[in-house]
Symmetry: C2
Subunit: 589 residues, 2 copies
């Protein structure tokens, strides 16, 4: 270890005086034998620089292959006129090597260390360490680290304490998505990995910690359908004597810091705030992408008393008629049929479409059922111009706006895909409708309602102090004001249909904690994987996770998960179930 | 949420202008009814301030009890002359309350929120949230957060990237201390929780990440004998093109930052560096507490050719004679017998003790066997004064120094218990002796030896590039320079007795990664729990972990680990073993 491994990093050669003798360490990215002189690019974490050497005086040059790891000693000189590369930071210099040491060789690569070559993801994951050498992944990992550091610095400056909560916690019978860890000391018992630090952060508030944050590893036994991972990281925060607006302001500080760190832009604050009712009514979804318009319009009054039964029946049944202006879609009949199928698959009875012809008339299968006044009002209601396609749905409000929300999301495109549109959605309903038409709590039972009376008397419209943060049509995270007195908590359990004995059984030790002078508190959590993925423009969160699992929960690099020896299981007091044994021996056969 | 929950924190009242109307939120710490006027201390995360109120104009005062959570609005006024408390930051002011709101009440407390009252640890853990309100735990959590933030800032400033490695990894048949997580998607297979991110951080180096760190949650299925936890946090770091001295310098930067954050002192750097050989020889242990002397002295030459068989036989057998000067111990015969038992329990054949009498003679059971010259040389070798107790052990070198190391640790006391004595131990042996006299690798098989030839030819004395960081007699962490070329790696496996097929089976995918141009790299990891515990003066790491488990791996607050429903296990393809079922039904009966 006596030899100094390097004096400079590749990128630093750009700002270093010519004539300096530098020692560099890095990888051979490209070699060119120019007859008597060998050129190669040396790449390290900072960038690349060109190395020039004479095979006669520098032994080992001929043996260099792609991705050999080498140490080079040489003099920094300006590149000759005409050979400069102005696209490269170090493109005006080259290192004239006097010494070359191969630190380690490389086998033939499974793929090129160059983002211009597409590589299938399974291969990338199998050789993740080589994938890290490519600009894309290297830059994603840097972005993630910088975003995390920026958020931390911002929260520490606001006197937040970072507190580590346990990841071996109690499992609950309801924890269908809990990942379990068998206990060796207490056989037959299990820890669960946390789906979030929710209860622990509330206990910190009970304990007077005032301002808490943590980048928390969380676990959910997902089916991997929708770009999720078994383990993920969320920025988790909570504050005492803190209200909803305080939470929003602090989360904005964190998000702005991360955005600046990755994108070098500063989003305008405060972020726009929409009520849940408003986003549903205007965008048909609780996580709208507002980088484009195409807003939903309520056309119910336009068709009040209409002769067209498709609309009339819906309105008479207490429903609504809503439409969007899809713009100049230029769809064929087949295209409209497909849109109609989409609408039906999301619960619509049908989809009415109409195209504004050059003469201002409407081309539509239902045009003949609509009066001139209705056609005029439809066009004006949707601010229609010649060539625009209008899409109209009638039915119950929730279904109608959601169907149009899906069509809007499918048809709309932001003018600037790099734009970042952060927004808040607040005042979520306490309950959401279940598939069978009943009501189920939309949030955890510790969420503060706007009004206990509403919860009891008008559950379908009761609101809670729950709020989401949305970016470009993706939900980044959610939070709420928590209930801080045990009387309200009991009443909320009652309205939610949780009997006192059940509450005691499920949450007993937590309810006990609330009885010792709990401060008002509120908090939030957002997913770092998703935030960073959007900020760097990655299509999957796997591109911002160093070692992700595939959608089947497998790591192609290490082969996890894998079978273990029977005696390892036995030491934990466990056995494979009869069904598993049968399935495994069938596989073997 | 319209009411502002607070305008000031309690401690801020000290620097706020008199006459200001403040809104505070916090806990009632102490109430005194002074006949017509009620005083109480309001405590929040920042500190305490005295509140004064008239029960006639402020309703609710009489109902206040300890630890009620309240909101107080009032005017800040100077305390009357003679009632000021100069020990308290806010002791010159009081808040004259005009409004009082009980935010939540408190049941009778299980213990006082006051560190002066001793509370047994089980109760503290069961009501951990109340324990957080006591100064000791609150201050420990702050210290930990500040230490973590300071280390992060120092490493980020040195361009380290924080990279999150997975916690659901491949299990190995050798992973006896692995905690397992059953896979639901691939039944019969398991993830393991990582004992450290070792292999992943080395893969990051292969991937060109250059400088990595992470506060990593790690897991080890410990027996909890020695103040350990199932999950713990280590600062993990690694660098490419990095040597042993670079690692030490960077770790020192991190440690200094943490020490400054918690203790407000700056340890002198560089920390002293000892070879393993030297600390063993001088302190009889590889993690010495050097805050006191009492160093071991080699007395072998003193007793060369002695007539005393206890020493002579050892020397003739190739052993050594070492001693320490225990200082003025004033032990009785019984005390010496106990020391002798201790020495024997650590492997010594016996312990020779001698006390320097007022006349300079030695009082010792063996004095009569020692010549005058030997007695004089013994005293001079141990720098003895009147009243000192000398302890001498003879036998094989390793046993002898370790026995004296134990006695030294038991008898020695630092003059200043607050002193922090950081040091490095380097050049550990490649192999350590096993109980049966064989040799076993002392570190993981990726550790770079000083010399392959030594490893092969002189294994008992071969050294490795492995190093430890020690603080006050505790090992904080360890690291090494790693092997970076696959040829050396193969040879090392060979010397370690790992056959190529076994290496392939155990480490195949990792060895494959090393074959693609691995840079020289080195790293380190140290335990945050232990560092912070020593910095705050805690006797157990549990006092710096927010929600620790007991020594039986149990959380008395949440009851984890706990049984789960049979169908939860079944969904994972698992069953309790027959033995576990039998044990559980025996418990039920």
């Amino acid at each position: 270890m006596a030899t100094q491994l390097r004096t400079h990093r590749a990128a630093e050669t750009a700002g270093t005086e010519h004539g300096t003798v530098v020692t560099l360490g890095g990888w051979v990215a490209r070699t060119r034998d120019m007859g008597g002189v060998v050129f190669f690019d040396l790449r390290d974490a900072s960038g690349k620089v060109q190395v020039v050497a004479d095979p006669d005086s520098v032994p080992g040059l001929e043996e260099l292959r792609m991705e050999y790891c080498v140490r080079v000693v040489g003099e920094l000189r300006p590149r000759p006129e005409g050979t400069q590369n102005h696209d490269l930071e170090t493109g005006l210099v080259e290192v004239h090597a006097t010494e070359l040491e191969v630190l380690s060789t490389s086998e033939t690569l499974p793929f090129m260390i160059d983002d211009r070559f597409d590589v299938d993801e399974l291969t990338r994951l199998q050789y993740r360490y080589l994938d890290f050498r490519r600009d894309g992944m290297a830059s994603n990992l840097r972005a993630r680290s910088h975003a995390t550091a920026a958020i931390r610095a911002a929260l520490v400056a606001q006197e937040f304490l970072e507190v580590e909560t346990p990841t071996l916690i109690a499992s609950t019978p309801e924890g269908a998505r809990d990942m379990l860890v068998p206990s060796r000391l207490r056989q037959g018992s299990f820890y669960a990995l946390p789906q979030s630090p929710q209860i622990f952060k509330q206990l910190l508030m009970v304990g007077g910690i005032d301002r808490y944050f943590q980048f928390a590893r969380c676990y959910r036994d997902e089916d991997f359908r929708s770009d999720r991972q078994l383990e993920f990281t969320q920025l988790d925060l909570e504050g005492a004597f803190w209200g909803e607006e305080d939470v929003r302001a602090t989360v904005e500080v964190a998000i702005v810091a991360a955005t600046q760190a990755v994108r070098d832009v500063t989003p305008a604050t405060p972020f726009p705030v929409f009520t849940w009712q408003e986003v549903m009514d205007r965008y048909g979804i609780d996580k709208p992408d507002i980088r484009f318009g195409m807003e939903l319009k309520n056309l119910s009054t336009v068709f009040d008393g209409t002769a067209f039964r498709g609309f009339g029946a819906a309105l008479e049944g207490g429903g609504v008629v809503y439409g969007i202006n899809g713009g100049a879609l230029g769809l064929s009949r087949k295209g409209f049929d497909e849109l109609t199928e989409t609408a039906k698959s999301h619960g619509a009875a049908g989809l009415v479409w109409a195209v504004v012809e050059d003469d201002g008339s409407l081309r539509s299968p239902v045009a003949k059922f609509l009066s001139d006044e209705e056609q005029a009002a439809l066009k004006s209601g949707l601010d229609a111009s010649v060539g625009d396609t209008l899409l109209v749905v009638a039915g119950p409000w929730r279904t109608t706006v959601e169907v149009l929300g899906h069509l809007r999301a499918q048809l709309g495109t932001p003018a600037d895909p790099d734009e970042l549109a952060y927004l808040w959605v607040v005042d979520f309903p306490v309950f959401e409708e279940t598939a069978d038409g009943g009501l189920a709590p939309a949030h955890h039972p510790f969420t503060q309602p706007h009004s206990l009376e509403d919860m009891k008397e008008r559950p379908a419209v009761a609101l809670s102090h729950a709020y989401d943060l949305v970016l470009n049509g993706t939900e980044l995270g959610s939070g709420s004001v928590r209930i801080h007195d045990s009387e309200t908590q009991s009443e909320v359990f009652d309205v939610l249909g949780i009997a006192p004995e059940e509450a005691e059984r499920r949450f007993g030790w937590f309810l006990q904690a609330l009885r010792f002078g709990t401060p008002p508190h509120a908090g939030f959590a957002f997913g770092m994987d998703r935030l960073v993925a959007i900020l760097v423009g990655a299509t999957s969160i796997r591109d911002v996770i160093p070692f992700p699992k595939t959608q089947r929960g497998v790591d192609p690099l290490t082969g996890s998960p894998n079978p273990v020896e029977p005696d390892q299981l036995d030491e934990l007091g466990l056995d494979l179930s009869a069904a598993t044994k049968a399935a495994l021996s069938a596989d073997d056969a």
